[in-house]
Each structure stands twice: as C-alpha cells, then as structure tokens.
C-alpha cells in the first residue's frame, strides 16, 4: 500500500480519523522524543513527554489552522509538556535524587561531558543538536519541526558544535578526541 502523504493524514485526523492520527504519531515519535530530550536530558522522561504531547495534540488538532506547520506545532506542544514535567519534578524530587539517577545510568565520563556541553547551549541550538544527533533527522525534517530554513540549519549547527567544543576544551576534554 502506498504511504499516505502527511497532509492527507493531517486532514484525515482533523476529520476524526484516529488511525491517521496514530500514523502521524508513529512518524513523529522519535523526533518528539528528541525534542523532549533536549529539554529533559532523560530518555524515559522524553518518551513520556512525547506520548503526553500526542494526547494534548489529539484534543487540539481540530483547531490546527496551518496544516503545513503540523510538525512545528507538535514540537511546540512537546516542548511545553517537557517543561511541565520539569516543573512537576522540581516539586517532587530533590537535586540529590536526580544525581543518583544519573549515576545509576552509568554513562562514561566522555558522554557526560558531551551532554553537559549540550546542556549549556541556548535552547534553540540545543533542539537542533539533539534532533540532528538523537534521531539522525534530515535537514528537511528538522526544518519542518523547528520552522527554520535548511540553509540556516547548517550554519546554526556548525556554530552550536563550535560552542560545544569550546566548552569541552575549557573543561579539560582531551583535544585529541574532538
């Protein structure tokens, strides 16, 4: 069966076809997890955020006016959900608990340093880096999710990586590994 176009799926979902909405979710799940991860820096929470954002999107999709900006709209919802999760967790968990979680995940030192370098990026750059490297999205896909042109993605990505490298170098990351 030929793959249905995205705009077809969006129209069908707006018209009440839940399975078309499901297909959109499948297509965007990894990207939304990446968007959530950019805010949360936690894989499991990022998945929670993606799934919750689908729930919010489902009850609001009928008010979506610009079909072409579906991905951008979904990403904005996901980002808000992720921020809500942070706010909720801030009330529930003390800092020590978070660091314990981090230890349990047992990542190596280099990975942690890289993640810290991503953390210090401005929000928009962080989104870009995570989308590019978490899910390996194409520039075209990133463009539709972030609402920026393909041309500027390249420049912004280069600048973000440069910032990361500067940060890493300042923090004693071996130059040979960069």
């Amino acid at each position: 069966m030929p793959e249905r176009s995205e705009i077809h799926l969006i129209e069908a979902a707006i018209d009440g076809d839940i399975e078309s909405f499901g297909e959109l979710c499948r297509r965007y799940y990894a990207a939304m997890v990446a968007v959530g991860y950019a805010v949360l820096s936690d894989h499991q929470l990022a998945e929670d955020a993606a799934q919750e954002s689908f729930a919010r999107a489902l009850v609001r999709i009928k008010s979506l006016k610009e079909r072409a900006k579906f991905a951008q709209w979904l990403a904005a919802i996901c980002r808000n959900v992720a921020k809500d999760i942070i706010a909720t967790r801030a009330k529930q968990i003390r800092t020590e608990d978070i660091s314990q979680v981090d230890e349990v995940e047992n990542h190596d030192e280099n990975d942690r340093a890289i993640r810290r370098a991503i953390e210090q990026l401005p929000e928009s750059a962080k989104d870009l880096v995570v989308l590019r490297y978490y899910d390996g999205l194409s520039y075209e896909q990133i463009s539709s999710i972030l609402g920026i042109s393909k041309a500027s993605i390249n420049g912004r990505l280069t600048r973000a990586k440069r910032k990361m490298a500067d940060y890493l170098r300042k923090n004693g990351f071996p130059e040979s590994r960069l």
Partner: protein
C-alpha cells in the same frame, strides 16, 4: 576550534552521548492509556460532523450558539414545518406550499417539541416551546463539551436554557448555575415578532417544496398506530474556497425520515441520520419523541426571571444588546461582535449596525473610527464584520453571492463605537418575505495579537425595510445607539441604493473581499439532495441484482459480448478477458440466480450449483454494486457449495444489516 565542522569523530561522540536506539511507538498501547483524550476527540468529531451538516439546513438561528445547538435547532425547525404542514393539509401536497407561511402565522400558537440527539455515545435531550403568535420561545438543551479539570481536559455534560420573552433573552447555564441577559433594541421588537413566524416558514420551505421528492419506503407501527415512512437523502457539498476547492462527494450522506400517519397526517416520529461512507451503517443523529401542536405551555415558561441561587453575569439593565439572532458572537480568543440592528433594502443590500470588540481593548482606539469616508472602507475594529454571503444560494458551488461591506457612519454610546455598514451583493437581489439570512464573515484585527482567523460562524438575519419605513427604523435605532442621536443627511434610503449601484461596478472590491473570505468559505458545507433514482431499498437492489446477473449470463450465452461487458464494473482489458473466459465455462447455460443478500447499495448474489470443468461443480458468489442508480457486477468469486457459507459470512460481517432474499 575548526575541527568541529564536518568532523565525523566529533559527530559520533555527540550521537553516542545523547543517542540510543530509535524509540518505537505502539499506538494501540497508547490508546489504552489515553482513553479520556480519545473520548474527547470522538466527541469533537461528532460535533464537527454535526456542525458541518448544519449549514445545510440553514434553518433556525435563535438558539444556535454552539454547533450542537445549530443542528438540533435546524432539525427542530424542519420538524416543526412538517408537523404544521402535515397537520394542516396532509391530503394535498401542492396546494399548501405557498400558503405555509400564512398558515403558520395564522393558525399556530405554541408548538412543543421534545427530541433526543446522539453524540459520541451520549444520549442527550432537547426541548422547544415556540410561541409563534407572541414571538416568544424556550429552549432546553443538553450538550457535551470539554473543559480543563484537575486531571487535564475532561468531557462534561452541560445543560442550558434560553428563554426569550419578546424583548429580553435569558441564558441560563444549569450546570454552572449562572444567568446572563441579552436584549433587543426596542425598535427591533416588532421585526423580531414578525420574523419569528417568517423564520420558521421560510427556513423550511425549501424542503417542503420538495415533498414530492420524498420516497415512501415502508410502514411502521408506533404505539399501535400505523405510519408510512418517508425518506429523502442528501450528500454533502461545499461552497468551495481556496484551500480544497469545491467539495462534491457522494459521501457523507444525510437522511431525513418522517413517519406520517396516512389516516390522520400525524407525524409520529422524525429522525435525522448520518452515514460517513458507503461501508458504514447509518447512525441516528436526532430523533423526536414528542410533537404537540397548539400545546399548552407550562405556566411562566416564557418568563425571564432569574432562578434563585444562580449567579447573575449581568442584569437586565446591563444586558448585552442582541440582534434578531438573539446572540452575541464570542470567540475563544476574546473577540466579540454584536449586531443590534440589521435591515435589508429593496435591492438586496443589507444595512448592519455592529460593534466589534476585544476583551483587552474594547472597540479599540478612537483613531480607528476617524477619517472614515461614506462608501469607503470599513473601520479596522478589533472584530470586523467584513463581508456577507447569501445563505439561500449556498447549495450552488461557485454561485454564492458575496456582499462587500462599505462604511456609512459611526455612532458611539457607552464606550462602544457602532459601525453602520452597507453590505452590497454582486447583483441586485429581489427580497422575498420579510427577512433575509446571511452568513457573516468576521475577521480579527487586534494590533496587539496575531490572531487573524476568520470564521463563517455567524448568521445575520435582517428585516426587510422600504423607502417608506426606512427613516422610522433607522432613526429609532440611531437614537438608541448614539449619544448624539442625530441622523446624518447621508443616511437616506435613496443615497444607500445609489451607493450600492456604484459599488456593484467595482469588481476589484468584490475580488479582494472574496479572496479574504475564501478560507472561511471553505468550511461551509451544505447538502444537495441525492436523486431519487439513485436510492433504492434492499428489495429493489435485490431485484435489480437478480435481473443484472440473469441478463449477463443470457448475453454471454447469446454471444453478445459488448452487452455483457457493459454490465461489469471492471475496466478493459480485464472486462473483455472475464467475458471471454466466462464463455468457455461448460455449464454456463445452466447458471441460475439463487439466494441474494442486499443492502441499499450492494448485493451478493449466489448462483445455483453447476458443473464446470472436469465434472467439478461449484457456485458463483457475485458482488453487485449499485452506483448512481445503476447496478453493475463488481466481482465474481467461484467456490464450492460447502465453502459458500464463508463467503456469505464475510459479506454479512461487512454489511450486518443486509437483508436475505432466499431463492424463490
């Protein structure tokens, strides 16, 4: 640090640090944990389905704030018409048509309707009391909505009552225990009373005129009394617009069904059905269960006294001014519009006085309303009624008459700027009856926000006035809506007709206005009747299918290949191949039609058992499709007698309501 650019090593480091296996999404599992949201979505879909269909009927606006109300209101008024018509004049179908408005106005006092409607698994109730004699009404309404709760969005059932006493409309929210008031300008009370009668008559006339197009499809007993069942079917069309163009599809379908006593003309039940596509079953949308003509209404039902213990959102003294639709336009983004006075001139132009505000800035800075020119552009009020569309012609794609709005004057009262604008149709329209109905195109101009949505979400009903009574109504309306209370000399009837004539030559204005309204127009759906010959009962389909199969095999045996090919839905070269192969079948001349299973649109025809190749016997299960009034063979499936039941079960699983017509 130039190494980072295009440095694969660094890229790999980043990917490793943040990446992991591509996460997988299980939608079925997700649905299990998000039933609430799915419920809300389904409820919204039902609402959407209904609200789209509403634009068809074009009927009734008094209580149509929400899409749910719109449908129910439309259905109710259509029903009212039938009740009246049948009870007055059932034995003649043509005689009463032109007299119906007069009959309603003269003979009917209070009509009572009670109905149930169905949405996303909910059964909801509505009740109407309409005093067409005194121009009063009462509407009880149960609806489904969603609101933010402690656990996020949740589905809620809400109940409202709207009571109109001839001047004040009281809106009671029984769920939240709140009350708000609206009121008519005093100069609009008399038009309102007259329009209430006209509205019912005129709104339903289009369908009543087509009563001869209804088909009697059977009979039914309700409470021991015999009723004929009359049906008419419609399909959805849209006006067309920029986004998707004109919609003109066979589905979804809508069906009106009336149970009418042949003995007395009583209408026993009225049902409105919806079917989303060919493969789905009909779903009941609205059904009346009580109809009373000249009923005795409960005491005080038309009184607009707030019930005890309710929170008053405003008082009668501070009531919102409403127009002939008894409502205020309110968007969720805070944009509001009222249209206290609206009149139709003899050339079809519509004079509307409106005030468009936003919750944050009222009707906006005074500068918006300064330096406006008589006959020039409208003020960019926060909420702007920028154009109209004729409602009567909405079923003609590409034909909708568009009205361009031009400025006449501004009056001010109580911090509200009232724009008086003339909406001019592309061509002169002769005004029939005492009121006209238009779809209003509204746009948002709040300079502090980027909301630019337009919605065709409002009706404007206008009262027809003449050169003789123009001054009386306009002067009186200006008096109520102006601190100065002076009627400018330019506001003369002939002046407005002259302006309209001049504007009609300005094609540029119409083009730009239509362009601005295109998106909103896209959302307007309407119903076009399905031709009678395209409809059939299962009995009829079974008869036609039997004849088709018999004719097909006769043509094969006679060697009339071209005739046989014409009976197939297959395209060439497959059709020719099927006919050629069928001719070689040894037992072809012995094939006879046996059992038939049929719906209104298709059939499964089972043939007798016949001996084909090598002494083997079998049967055909032949699928027949009825489209646009013609049956064609869709598919052949040869199988053994033993396995035939599986084919039948498969068909019945898809069409559970198909009827069985055994071999005679």
């Amino acid at each position: 640090m130039n190494a980072c650019k295009n440095n694969k090593k660094f890229d790999d480091l980043i990917a490793r640090a943040i990446g992991r296996d591509r996460p997988k999404f299980d939608f079925d599992k997700w649905k299990q944990t998000h039933k609430k949201e799915i419920g809300i979505f389904e409820s919204q879909t039902a609402e959407q389905k209904i609200s789209r269909s509403v634009w068809i009927f074009g009927i009734g606006r008094i209580f149509m704030k929400s899409p749910f109300n719109k449908l129910a209101g439309a259905a109710a008024i259509l029903i009212l018409a039938f009740v009246i018509w049948y009870s007055m004049n059932f034995t003649t179908t043509v005689y009463a048509l032109t007299d119906v408005p007069q009959i309603i106005g003269q003979a009917t006092k209070v009509i009572h309707l009670r109905m149930r409607w169905f949405s996303a698994g909910h059964e909801l109730r509505q009740e109407f009391w309409t005093d067409v004699d005194k121009g009063r009404s009462y509407h009880y309404y149960e609806g489904i909505g969603s609101e933010e709760g402690p656990d996020g969005l949740q589905t809620i059932k809400y109940i409202t009552e709207n009571v109109f006493d001839g001047r004040f409309v009281m809106k009671v929210n029984l769920t939240k225990k709140t009350v708000s008031f609206g009121k008519l300008l005093s100069c609009m009370e008399e038009p309102m009373q007259r329009i209430m009668i006209d509205r019912i008559s005129k709104s339903i006339l289009p369908d009543i005129q087509n009563l001869d197009q209804y088909t009697k499809v059977g009979q039914e007993h309700i409470d021991g009394k015999r009723y004929d069942i009359w049906q008419r079917e419609f399909r959805l069309v849209s006006s067309g617009g920029s986004r998707s163009g004109s919609v003109d599809s066979e589905y979804p379908r809508f069906r009106y069904e009336y149970c009418v006593s042949p003995a007395s003309g009583d209408v026993g039940r009225m049902t409105y059905w919806h079917k989303s596509d060919r493969l789905k079953e009909w779903e009941k949308v609205v059904e009346t269960d009580q109809i009373e003509i000249d009923a005795e209404p409960p005491v005080d039902i038309f009184l607009t006294e707030s019930p005890a213990g309710y929170t008053l959102k405003n008082q009668k003294a501070t009531a919102d001014i409403v127009g002939l639709h008894l409502d205020v336009f309110r968007s969720i983004q805070g944009y509001n519009l009222i249209a206290p006075a609206s009149f139709t001139l003899e050339d079809g132009s519509v004079l509307i006085c409106w005030c468009g505000t936003h919750d944050s800035i009222g009707s906006g800075p005074d500068a918006i309303y300064e330096n406006l020119v008589f006959g020039g552009d409208l003020p960019k009020a926060p909420t702007e009624l920028f154009a109209l569309m004729s409602y009567k012609d909405r079923n003609k794609p590409g034909y909708n008459i568009h009205y361009v709005g031009r400025h006449l004057m501004v009056t001010s009262k109580a911090d509200c700027h009232y724009e008086w604008a003339l909406y001019i149709p592309q061509r002169e329209i002769s005004v029939e009856g005492i009121s006209t109905d238009n779809v209003a195109f509204i746009r948002f101009n709040n300079p502090k926000k980027k909301d630019s949505a337009q919605e065709p979400s409002w009706f404007i009903t206008s009262f027809a006035i003449t050169a003789q009574n123009f001054s009386q109504y306009i002067r009186s309306a200006i008096k109520e809506l102006s601190d100065i209370q002076v009627m400018p000399a330019e506001m003369a009837y002939d002046n407005l007709l002259a302006l309209a004539k001049q504007i009609r030559n300005r094609t540029d204005l119409f083009e730009s206005s239509q362009k601005a309204a295109a998106e909103a127009r896209d959302h307007i759906g309407s119903l076009a009747p399905v031709k009678r010959e395209q409809l059939a009962t299962p009995e009829q389909v079974s008869r036609e299918a039997k004849k088709l199969i018999e004719d097909f095999y006769t043509a094969i045996v006679d060697g009339r290949n071209v005739d046989a090919i014409k009976m197939l839905k297959y395209k060439e070269p497959r059709a020719s191949r099927v006919v050629t192969n069928m001719k070689t079948l040894p037992g072809i001349e012995n094939i006879k039609v046996g059992d038939i299973y049929a719906t209104e649109e298709n059939a499964l025809v089972i043939t007798n058992e016949f001996v084909a190749y090598e002494g083997k016997s079998g049967r055909w299960a032949i699928s027949v499709l009825r489209e646009k009034g013609v049956c064609l063979i869709k598919d052949f499936n040869a199988t053994s007698t033993q396995r035939m039941q599986k084919e039948i079960d498969k068909y019945l699983q898809q069409f559970p309501k198909a009827r069985h017509f055994p071999e005679p």
